[in-house]
């Protein structure tokens, strides 16, 4: 008895490496970049204003490194959230050159550096300081869709059985790190902030299609709302913004289908 993963044959104990990896490369190049950051100091400003910063960075650096360099060496008051620095905690969604990105996953070398890099807070949530917005409305709509497994009856003594296919059904939406890049890229969410937003729907999807869950009806009911899935205009901004590569619009579509097939 073994799981689906075949054990690969024992690899060779010695191989010839291609020259490119074993050999010597050149120096890591450095270059100058300008960041144009939307600054907002709540104590003194009524509107955000832009400020330019010039820093010298290296080939493997990310936008987060540039922000750190500014904060640590030029202006300590520059404020932004960050933690893991490799795209798994969801702290540092921001608008980089007009698009929602995680600063820690955006490599400088992938950006056109001839122009300043514009960095702004994500849209549609109340601005608190510099690149920091109030995430509470975002989390509130997340909490409203019952983002937890609901079951009834006796707890089994062992695990609940779920086939690999059933598990695969909702795999995509389990990847969400609640970074809000999607919701704050959605033109419908920008309008009045009442729309549940893609992230909440993604997290509902994760449970609606989990074979172990028994509260799909309730979640579908919640999303069958004026501010629910029907407000989505399939603009795909969310899918394009998601740093985890989740097919957000597809998930929303599937939730719409589920509501429809339940109603007709």
């Amino acid at each position: 008895m073994s799981s689906d993963s075949p054990q690969p044959a024992e690899p060779a104990s010695k191989i010839d490496l291609p020259a490119s990896v074993g050999g010597s490369g050149g120096e890591i190049p450095t270059f100058d970049v300008t960041l144009r950051i939307a600054r907002f100091i709540p104590e003194t400003d009524s509107e955000p204003h832009y400020e330019d910063y010039q820093v010298t960075m290296q080939g493997t650096d990310r936008v987060l490194d540039a922000l750190h360099k500014i904060k640590w060496e030029i202006d300590g008051s520059l404020s932004f959230r960050r933690s893991c620095a490799h795209g798994v905690c969801g702290s540092d969604a921001m608008r980089i050159n007009g698009r929602n990105r995680l600063a820690c996953k955006t490599l400088l070398k992938d950006i056109d550096l001839n122009k300043p890099i514009t960095v702004e807070a994500i849209k549609g949530l109340p601005l608190e300081k510099d690149l920091i917005v109030d995430m509470e409305p975002f989390f509130q709509s997340y909490r409203e869709i019952m983002p937890f497994l609901v079951t009834s009856g006796h707890e089994p003594t062992r695990e609940r059985i779920q086939s690999a296919e059933e598990r695969q059904r909702f795999d995509d939406t389990t990847k969400c790190i609640l970074c809000a890049a999607c919701t704050s890229s959605c033109p419908v969410f920008w309008t009045d902030g009442q729309y549940f937003g893609p992230a909440a729907i993604v997290n509902a999807h994760r449970f609606i299609f989990d074979s172990r869950d028994e509260a799909s009806d309730m979640r579908l009911e919640i999303l069958n709302d004026k501010e629910g899935v029907w407000r989505c205009r399939t603009t795909f901004n969310c899918t394009e913004a998601c740093p985890r590569g989740i097919q957000v619009t597809k998930a929303i579509s599937e939730v719409k289908q589920a509501i429809l097939s339940r109603s007709f």
Partner: protein, 586 residues
């Protein structure tokens, strides 16, 4: 300043904190204070899995798991604790599954399991499939699942509240916690939380080092706060360096990469682990692999322009297999190094990963004031604590287990204790220490930048306290730390505002880092042997005669240990039940 009252206050909302909150919230009025939104905690970065002897895919039992844990920890593991952890592992995994965690499945629909470093069948005979996993996002799924359950049970969170002090009050000659003082990031206000019991679950302190898989926010706050109040830190010299961090960046590539068949090669293309650990080769415990890698580099068989890393080779694996089992970490390689793991080997080098030591606790997660007494009402769980189940070297997947098993125990114990006692009276103005500290930093007229000091600290620790240590290198580290502490007195905080003043908090965190670096180095100086993650080139052998004990470091202004003023080092016996120390060979 606001005052809040709760039965139980939990500091930290990572895996350990939230697991505790689920238990304690059902039993007593509980608040969780966290400096990050709960889902941002670093538990979410854990990749490989969580071990439990479920025996879903092959024969296994918790006794073997206990043995592996003890042996992996190079025998300075408290074996009663290890036994509890291995036994309760099974329920811990099943609990998570019942909460909804989407584990990968076997063809029969059960939780799938895979191999992981140091986990063996029948006391080291061969590798065993014991790690329960969800692709390479196990920690992410655990963190999300626990948060989901907290939402379900309406646990009260105070997000972006930095706990900066613990309030200790003397009751009948014993110091007891009366609550904590927290700084609200959004407003810059201080809050006092009065509580009958306090649980610390603030995670690790990896930012003491430069190359680390840890988050920017893992600055050892909990350890620092507790240490300031005279509570010891145990076994801080044991730091784990994970073999496969992305070279130069430290971002982790899980051991699962090797569990799934990946192998390490040097510049000659040789699978060098065959020489260092002939039986289990690349799946030897982390300390051994990390040292072997560092040794390859030292002996000139490193790769790259500076010959300063080795290669993790996945190219012989099926791309489909890689996608199914290791999707995230292969993406890290692509994103951050521009390397395609299907066809190219990935540059890797050891990265500071885990602090085995921490706040000493017993098996009920109660914090110890010294070898024989506990601090009533104070608890710790997770990476901040030292139970000690990891000894000198933690086995992969045992930390996710630790946070669940001892997080749960802490939650239950803290709530039960809270229900049996009254509040301890708060002192007159409990926040004085903290407000003076912050005002001092804000009004400081210094010139030193926090970031510069931190960088120097991390660099000296990387150079002198990493996988190879000697008396001289450690002395250099100590001298540097001393100098840095002097410089710290002259720092400047540029942001003078009240709202979201992260500049101020970085200054506070740096103080914790300096303190912890010093304790780590002190412990390492004391331990004149090599054991687990602590390897001294001047004492290459393990010395059970003299060092088969835990180190306990106390803050004591009147003492001097290993030439370091202000620290008193003591020892604590290791609990040995079944397994006598043996040579650790793989």
């Amino acid at each position: 300043m606001q005052v809040h009252h709760y039965d139980v206050v939990i500091v930290g909302a990572g895996g350990a904190g939230m697991r505790a909150a689920l238990e304690s919230g059902d039993r007593a009025r509980t608040a969780v204070l966290t400096k990050l939104y709960p889902t941002r905690s670093h538990t979410g970065a854990a990749q490989g899995g969580m071990c439990a002897a479920l025996a879903n895919v092959e024969e296994d039992n918790w006794e073997w798991h206990t043995f592996d844990t003890v042996k992996g920890g190079d025998y300075v593991v408290d074996q009663d604790a290890a036994e509890i952890m291995a036994k309760e592992a099974i329920d811990a995994v099943l609990d998570l599954e019942k909460m909804g965690l989407p584990f990968n499945r076997t063809p029969e629909g059960k939780i799938d399991q895979r191999r992981f470093g140091g986990h063996t069948r029948d006391h080291g005979k061969s590798a065993v499939r014991r790690s329960c996993y969800a692709a390479d996002r196990t920690g992410h799924m655990i963190l999300q699942t626990l948060y989901q359950q907290c939402v379900k049970r309406e646990v009260e969170f105070y997000n972006e509240f930095y706990v900066l002090d613990l309030i200790m009050t003397e009751v009948d000659g014993h110091k007891r916690p009366a609550g904590v003082v927290a700084y609200e990031l959004a407003t810059g206000e201080l809050h006092t939380f009065q509580a009958k019991s306090v649980i610390f679950a603030t995670g690790g302190a990896g930012k003491v080092f430069k190359t680390t898989s840890n988050a920017h926010t893992l600055t050892g706050d909990g350890m620092g706060v507790v240490f300031r109040h005279g509570i010891p830190l145990e076994d801080m010299e044991f730091v784990q360096f994970h073999p496969t961090g992305l070279a130069g960046l430290g971002i982790l590539l899980s051991e699962a990469a090797r569990g799934e068949g990946g192998i390490l090669r040097n510049s000659e293309g040789e699978r060098f682990m065959e020489r260092y650990a002939p039986t289990i080769k690349d799946l030897a415990p982390r300390d051994i692999v990390a040292r072997s890698m560092a040794n390859e580099v030292r002996e000139g068989r490193g790769c790259g322009p500076n010959k300063d890393y080795v290669l993790l080779d996945l190219t012989h694996l099926e791309p489909a297999h890689i996608d199914a089992k290791l999707p995230d970490i292969t993406e890290f390689a692509r994103t951050y190094l521009g390397v395609e793991p299907y066809t190219e080997p990935v540059p890797v080098f050891p990265t500071c990963h885990y602090v085995m030591g921490g706040v000493p606790t017993n098996i009920s997660a109660e914090v110890l004031a010294d070898n024989d007494h506990k601090v009533p009402g104070l608890y710790a769980a997770g990476e901040v604590a030292c139970v000690s189940v990891h000894g000198a070297n933690r086995l992969g997947t045992n930390s996710l287990l630790d946070i669940n098993v001892f997080g749960k125990r802490a939650g239950i114990a803290a709530a039960e204790y809270a229900n049996s006692v009254d509040f301890v009276e708060l002192p007159e103005s409990p926040e004085t220490f903290t407000s003076e500290l912050l005002e001092g930093l804000l009004s400081g007229q210094g010139t030193e930048r926090v970031a510069a000091i931190r960088k120097d600290l991390q660099e000296t620790m990387d150079t002198n306290m990493q996988v190879f240590r000697t008396k001289e290198s450690m002395q250099r580290a100590l001298d540097d730390i001393e100098a840095l502490r002097e410089r710290y007195k002259n720092i400047v905080v540029q942001d003078k505002g009240k709202r979201f003043n992260l500049d101020l908090l970085e200054a506070v965190e740096l103080n914790f880092l300096l303190q912890i670096a010093e304790v780590m180095t002190a412990g390492a100086m004391h331990r004149k042997e090599s054991r687990g993650g602590h390897f001294r080139e001047d004492f290459e052998k393990r010395d059970d005669e003299n060092y088969m004990h835990h180190t306990m470091a106390y803050r004591d202004p009147d003492a001097t240990s290993e030439g370091i003023p202000g620290i008193r080092l003591e020892t604590k016996p290791v609990v040995v039940t079944r397994y006598q120390p043996m040579e650790r060979k793989y």
